[in-house]
């Protein structure tokens, strides 16, 4: 379970103070598929970064599986990130010098699995995303949709409890986006909790729950209303 209570995140420079999150509270239960929507600059990505422990929160509390994350050191946070969280980015973020096999291998290396176990997991995950035959291809040799599938395989290879996706279909055409979303839906059905940031209303339907973020905190109401309001504004 992921639980944030009154989380605030403030970015400070010498002259400017920006409140990215203000008393942000949210609970995500195990197995949920939650979409996070909201206008640009509303704090969606900041929320996702804090959820993924890529950023420290300024105040409030954050518990992941009952553990207070804010009190952990770098090594423990890295371990939890490696074991419990998978990331999917809008721009895929594959490492260009590594082939598909080695890209999926990255989190497994930090996990400390032996070669046989890594090979088994990589094979299974690439089979699942339909790219088992492209193991030796480099990212530049793949289409956008295929690259995102590799990124998904990399995210789930360590069998994380949570999958955090930031605009996972933002750089894909409709057909490819659909296949990626189908994949995420299947992964969610197998028990992985998914939190997906998006600003596309069409994707919200895929989630079982939507939360709308505005001005750094969770706002009430169905997403359609908020999207409409944002569009009028």
């Amino acid at each position: 379970m992921l639980k944030m209570s009154k989380v605030s995140k403030t970015y400070r420079t010498d002259t400017v103070e920006t409140h990215a999150l203000r008393e942000f509270s949210l609970t995500v239960d195990e197995g949920e598929f939650v979409s996070v929507t909201g206008p640009s600059g509303s704090g969606k990505t900041t929320f996702l970064n804090i959820a993924g422990m890529l950023e420290e929160l300024t105040s409030g509390s954050y518990e992941l599986d009952g553990r207070d994350i804010s009190k952990l050191g770098d090594k423990e946070r890295s371990r939890i990130r490696n074991e419990k969280i998978g990331f999917i980015f809008q721009s895929f973020n594959l490492i260009p010098e590594l082939d598909v096999f080695d890209n999926v291998d990255v989190p497994l290396r930090y996990r400390g699995f032996d070669a046989r176990e890594r090979k088994r997991r990589i094979g299974n995950c690439l089979e699942m995303v339909g790219l088992a035959s492209r193991m030796k291809h480099y990212p530049a040799q793949l289409s956008g949709g295929q690259q995102q599938r590799v990124a998904i395989a990399r995210a789930v290879a360590g069998e994380p409890r949570f999958l955090l996706a930031d605009e996972p279909t933002g750089n894909l055409d409709t057909q490819m986006a659909d296949s990626v979303l189908n994949l995420l839906t299947d992964i969610n059905k197998s028990g992985t909790t998914i939190i997906m940031v998006t600003h596309e209303l069409s994707l919200v339907d895929r989630a079982r729950r939507n939360i709308f973020v505005k001005d750094g905190h969770v706002s009430d109401g169905p997403p359609e209303l908020h999207f409409a309001a944002s569009a009028i504004a």
Partner: protein, 439 residues
């Protein structure tokens, strides 16, 4: 994980060959400049008898001018007079002892087509070879009797034996010098005492003599001294006998004393000897006798030229400049890879894991820089050799040895790791969220 980091290092180097080549070149040039000078200094400061440093002692007696020391502030002469050398040698109070000086003879080779040549030779006593652990290829040193009876015997260096006898076992064969025959009793193996610790008076790097013969023979033959000579008052007349009886210093004396008690006893003997000589009107200065180990003696004689220290400082500064350049290049490389760093952080890499990855990569650059640095060092030494080509001894100073090769690699790795610390620290502290958000 170490193997994985090596793999990542190779991939990174392949991905940025130009930048890597620049870093390797910067390290190699710095190492080359530094190690060239360090090598020269290393050879200069070498102690050829380090294994006997505690038992060998150079003898100094202060027979100098009462109004003016031999050297400031109160240094006794660096050599001894014939009077003292022969008296101390005959007293035979040390475990081993040797007196010697440099002279010269005209060698007449056996073969008809070979021309005679002038050769610097060392007139010494039999213990010279045992004291300094000089290795023999054939035969051995002459015996005590030969020293006493002025026997016409010689020991040849390996090089001279090659020149005169084609390198065969020449023991028992005859050699003609200044029309007199000498019997070869020994041939040395390769022996290159560098510096020539036993006689630092002229050029410490000129190499050992190639012919050795009994001291007594040179004295009875009244052969002139071809080495250093210092006098503080005129000799009686111009005869060799007057020279032998003079206060001129021109003979090097060494003793071997096996422990501190032997050393104390010998120093006491020297002091007693000088006190006795004072009653005869010699040694007008206060007691100032010295026994110096080879290492102490080389420091005393300032074997390492001051200019080497200046050159070394400049070379180290140059290395620092090269390393600063490397730091800049590494920093540029790391900053270009912030996306990779952030992504790895997101996928579970701890700061220490990333630190290890980047340090290993820097170490690989260091090894490459070290290997290239060996090549640069070799080039640097060849450059020094060419500049000072007119000096015969220069080849000895610019010879690379394994210690220097390993030193160059170790220095390169240490330099690369040192240069990598700041960029790696920056890499580990990259905020993954900021970088990944920009993508």
């Amino acid at each position: 994980m170490i193997r994985y980091y090596f793999k990542l290092g190779i991939l990174s180097i392949r991905a940025n060959p130009a930048l890597t080549a620049l870093m390797v070149a910067a390290i190699a040039i710095g190492i080359g400049a530094c190690m060239s000078i360090v090598t020269v200094r290393h050879v200069m400061s070498n102690n050829p008898v380090a294994h006997k440093n505690d038992v060998l002692f150079h003898v100094q007696l202060d027979n100098w001018n009462p109004d003016d020391p031999f050297d400031e502030p109160n240094e006794p002469p660096s050599q001894v007079t014939y009077l003292d050398a022969s008296a101390l040698y005959q007293a035979d109070r040390a475990y081993r002892q040797t007196i010697s000086f440099k002279t010269s003879r005209v060698v007449l080779p056996d073969s008809e087509d070979a021309k005679p040549f002038q050769e610097l030779i060392r007139a010494t006593t039999t213990d010279f070879f045992a004291m300094f652990d000089i290795p023999f290829k054939y035969g051995g040193a002459w015996d005590d009797a030969a020293d006493r009876t002025e026997e016409h015997v010689v020991v040849l260096s390996s090089e001279m034996n090659q020149r005169l006898f084609g390198g065969v076992d020449s023991v028992g064969r005859m050699l003609t010098m200044n029309k007199e025959p000498y019997r070869v009793v020994g041939v040395l193996s390769e022996w290159l005492p560098m510096p020539k610790f036993y006689d630092l008076n002229n050029n410490p790097y000129e190499g050992a003599e190639d012919i050795f013969l009994p001291f007594s023979l040179a004295i009875s033959g009244e052969w002139g001294n071809a080495g250093n000579n210092n006098c503080w008052k005129p000799t009686e007349d111009g005869t060799f006998a007057a020279y032998l009886a003079s206060e001129c210093v021109w003979i090097q004396m060494w003793v071997e004393l096996r422990d501190t008690s032997e050393k104390s006893a010998y120093l006491q003997f020297l002091n007693d000897y000088v006190e006795e000589q004072k009653t005869l009107g010699r040694f007008p200065r206060a007691l100032n006798n010295r026994l110096s180990t080879p290492a102490e003696w080389m420091v005393n004689r300032e074997v390492i030229d001051d200019s080497i220290g200046v050159l070394l400082s400049l070379a180290v500064l140059f290395l620092v400049v090269c390393l600063l350049n490397t730091i800049g290049l590494l920093l540029a490389k790391v900053m270009r890879r912030t996306n990779d760093i952030s992504l790895r952080r997101a996928l579970g890499a701890s700061k220490s894991a990333l630190f290890a990855q980047y340090i290993i990569e820097a170490g690989m650059v260091g090894v490459a820089g070290g290997l290239a640095g060996i090549g640069m060092t070799w080039l640097g030494l060849r450059g020094i050799e060419n500049v000072f080509a007119e000096y015969d001894f220069i080849a000895y100073l610019v010879a690379m040895d394994w210690a220097m090769v390993l030193g160059a690699v170790a220095l390169a790795i240490a330099s690369a790791l040192g240069a990598a610390l700041y960029p790696t620290w920056r890499a580990c502290n990259v905020s993954p969220a900021t970088t990944l958000r920009i993508q």
